[in-house]
């Protein structure tokens, strides 16, 4: 499949990097449920879409992982779904750049939601994550 590729870096706003770190820094699965930043990102993007909120990245951009790390079985279909559901234009499937822009902005909004759900108040993050589902 020849989808024209321009960039393969997935970026977040520098100002939310601390949330990503907090959710991945540690070994105890109950307090630190996520293993990789990619996992956090996908959750954030999904939450962002659910809320219907896109937030453009205004600060400095940090690369946290690469497109190649997405699993084609589990991750890419969701990325595509969100990109498609965002607008009406199916040609978005041909542009990796476009899809990245869309999911990055949903993630930029959703990450705050994720933080509120998992880190605020008492309770272990893992159980709160389970409750979200």
């Amino acid at each position: 499949m020849d989808i024209p590729v321009s960039r393969d870096t997935v970026t977040i706003d520098e100002s939310v990097h601390y949330i990503y770190k907090q959710l991945t820094d540690g070994t105890d699965p109950v307090t630190v449920p996520f293993k990789t930043m990619k996992d956090v990102f996908l959750w954030a993007a999904s939450l962002g879409y659910k809320r219907g909120e896109r937030r453009p990245i205004t600060g400095k951009k940090l690369t946290i992982f690469r497109w190649a790390q997405f699993s084609s079985q589990n991750d890419i279909p969701v990325v595509k779904a969100i990109s498609l559901a965002d607008g009406d234009d199916i040609t978005v499937l041909l542009s990796q750049d476009e899809m990245l822009n869309v999911v990055e902005e949903y993630a930029n909004a959703g990450i705050h939601d994720l933080r509120t759900r998992l880190l605020d108040e008492s309770g272990q993050p893992l159980w709160k994550l389970v409750n979200t589902l």
Binding site: K35, S46, P77, I82
Partner: protein, 652 residues
């Protein structure tokens, strides 16, 4: 600098191209150019200046009226629209290398008889390389400054009209400036001043930095390392304690197993502890499963997106924008074969043909089509996964809850066993159990502490990594500081060195000029018995001292003043030891014949190369005779009143 040849083209009264080859041999180093007043000596002199420096050079005006540089004859002979050109070409030697400098000015003849000049003149400076090739010099100003700076030229390209300038009383400033420039005192002064300024700037820059930082950081790193070591040691000790306590517990258990009264209970305990261990392991696995399922469950949250995406894709399909069964290539093949899907051939332009074409033009590019079909299929599969995922997660959470209960019950059973043993009427047994309990408590508290100490070690390790980054940065800073402070030290020392030696040098130069001026003046002036001395005062005033010790200046004749001036000029030329020609325009004009003769006799020895512009009256008889053996080239400027042009004629 030794002049070799000059070629003048259409410059003032010099029409056409004319050339002078300068005498430059050791024994014959004098070039004489004759001309009556108005014949063109001044113009010739000007041509050299203009060629080297242009109409102005670094804000020093060299030529007064550029418009009048062009040969009127050349202008009048040109036809309308023709380009008229003025140029001067000068070849000279300097430090063994040959230089060629050319300056030209051109313009187009207008209808009204004038020439519209181009804005700027063209200037090129070339040097001949060792291999004979000419190479262009990119920094002509800097190069000329190294050979003959514009503000020094008047001491070498010497206008005879100004001959008595230096002997005037008010000339002290001029004398000083001449010495400063020619003898490089000015350069020393500037060097010292600028080095001082540069050093001051370095000093300011250095003040803003502090060397403390690196030391502090290194201390911090050391402390962090010490803390890690201490913590690790403590962890080790705790492990040892734990092991020892576990050993003690093991011993007690063994005892209890062996004793008749307690062996049943102890066996029970053993059994419960085994099961507890298993359940705890199982718990870990379940939690891990929950975590994996939860983390991978984002697609469940994204369900609305998946639904909407599927809807969108299906829509496009239905609207015929994506042929679901055919593919573009297939259709194109059909068209090229002019055969319909069902196999029947069709005619060009027929309905079937048009329909097939429509499918291609309204359809989508192959790549997109593939995307759409694949994505659609994959997303459908996701829809089904949601249910199962939720179910798996629920099952895992339920199992966890079960295990929580099971474990709780098991722990309660353990407590029970312990209580029974503690409550035994046999002192030995209850004591053993109590000891066991204490050991278990120690083990637990040690385990907790070990856990938290490990976290501390991680923190310290992170801290050290951070510190390392900062230390590297600080080290780089320090290196820069060391360089800066070395620069400061050297620049200041250099400035101070010049300051130290300047006065010595200046005094030395002043004395040399004084002595040389005196020597030359004596040679040239017959009234020497009247004069005691020539002094160059600290205020740079040229004085001639009479035998009574007083300044004799008021008594100097006009000629003597001129000779003093000339002596000074020549003294500078000698003392500076720069290889430079003396080009003198009518130097003898106002001198008496005696002075003239004396100068003619000594002049050649006082310059490396001499070019004299003279009128015939100036150079006659004895003066001529003295100069004769040294003359290597001689020209005459012949002015024709008819054409108002001068022709350079070679006499020898």
């Amino acid at each position: 600098m030794k002049l070799e040849r000059i070629t003048i083209e259409n410059f003032r009264q010099y029409y056409g191209k004319q050339r002078v080859d300068f005498a430059k041999e050791d024994q014959k180093r004098v070039t004489v150019i004759h001309g009556i007043n108005g014949a063109g000596k001044t113009s010739f002199f000007l041509s050299i200046n203009w060629c080297l420096y242009g109409k102005s050079f670094e804000n020093v005006k060299v030529v007064d009226n550029v418009g009048e540089l062009m040969s009127k004859e050349a202008v009048s002979r040109a036809v309308i629209g023709e380009t008229v050109r003025t140029s001067v070409d000068l070849a000279f030697l300097h430090n063994g290398e040959r230089y060629m400098v050319k300056r030209s000015l051109q313009g187009i003849k207008q209808e009204d008889g004038t020439v519209r000049l181009e804005e700027n003149d063209n200037f090129t400076m070339m040097r001949t390389r060792a291999d004979g090739q000419a190479e262009r010099i990119n920094n002509p100003i800097g190069t000329m400054n190294s050979i003959l700076p514009v503000n020094v030229r008047e001491y070498f390209l010497f206008d005879g009209e100004k001959i008595d300038n230096f002997a005037k009383p008010e000339a002290a400033a001029q004398v000083k400036q001449a010495i400063y420039l020619v003898l490089k005192l000015e350069i020393l002064e500037r060097s010292r001043r600028h080095l001082d300024t540069v050093a001051t700037e370095y000093r300011k820059e250095l003040k803003n930095k502090s060397g403390k930082e690196l030391r502090d950081l290194l201390e911090q790193e050391e402390k962090a390392r010490a803390d890690i070591k201490k913590t690790k040691d403590r962890i080790y000790d705790l492990h040892q304690e734990k092991e020892s306590a576990e050993g003690k517990v093991g011993d007690i258990d063994k005892r209890l197993r062996e004793m008749e009264n307690t062996n049943t209970l102890q066996q029970q305990r053993d059994r419960i502890e085994r099961e507890l261990k298993q359940r705890r392991t199982e718990m870990e696995e379940v939690v891990s499963t929950v975590r994996d399922l939860a983390v991978a469950g984002f697609f469940v949250v994204a369900e609305p997106a998946i639904k909407k995406a599927i809807q969108l894709l299906e829509e496009k399909r239905e609207r015929g924008e994506i042929p679901s069964d055919y593919r573009q290539q297939f259709i194109k093949d059909l068209i090229s074969k002019m055969v319909c899907v069902c196999g029947r051939p069709f005619m060009d332009g027929s309905e079937e043909h048009k329909a097939l074409l429509a499918k291609i033009t309204h359809g989508l590019p192959d790549a997109l089509q593939d995307e759409v079909l694949n994505t659609c299929a994959v997303l459908h599969a996701f829809e089904q996964r949601t249910e199962k995922h939720r179910a798996d997660l629920d099952a895992a959470m339920r199992r966890r809850a079960e295990l929580v209960d099971i474990i709780r019950i098991l722990e309660a059973e353990l407590d029970d066993v312990s209580r029974q043993l503690k409550g035994s009427p046999l002192e030995e047994i209850s004591k053993l159990e109590r000891q066991r309990e204490n050991f278990r408590a120690d083990i637990q508290s040690n385990t907790l502490e070990i856990g938290s100490l490990h976290v501390r070690v991680d923190d310290f390790t992170k801290q050290i990594a951070e510190l390392k980054k900062e230390i590297d940065r600080a080290r780089k800073e320090e290196k820069r500081e060391v360089l800066l402070s070395t620069k400061l030290d050297l620049a200041q020392k250099a400035a101070d060195a010049i300051g130290e030696m300047y006065q010595t040098f200046a005094d030395d130069m002043r004395e040399k000029i004084q002595e040389k001026t005196k020597e030359i003046f004596k040679k040239l002036v017959w009234k020497e018995s009247h004069f005691q001395d020539v002094k160059l005062g600290p205020e740079f005033n040229l004085e001639v001292i009479d035998r009574y010790g007083f300044s004799a200046r008021p008594e100097l004749s006009a000629g003597e003043r001129q000779v003093l001036s000339l002596s000074f000029i020549m003294a500078m030329s000698r003392v500076s030891e720069e290889e430079a020609p003396l080009v003198m325009d009518t130097p003898f004009g106002r001198l008496s014949s005696h002075h003239r003769n004396a100068i003619a006799e000594h002049l050649p020895t006082l310059a490396d190369q001499l070019v004299l512009f003279v009128t015939d009256e100036e150079l006659r008889d004895e003066a001529r005779q003295s100069l004769e053996p040294r003359i290597g080239a001689e020209y005459r400027l012949e002015f024709s009143p008819r054409t108002s042009c001068t022709e350079i004629v070679e006499v020898r």
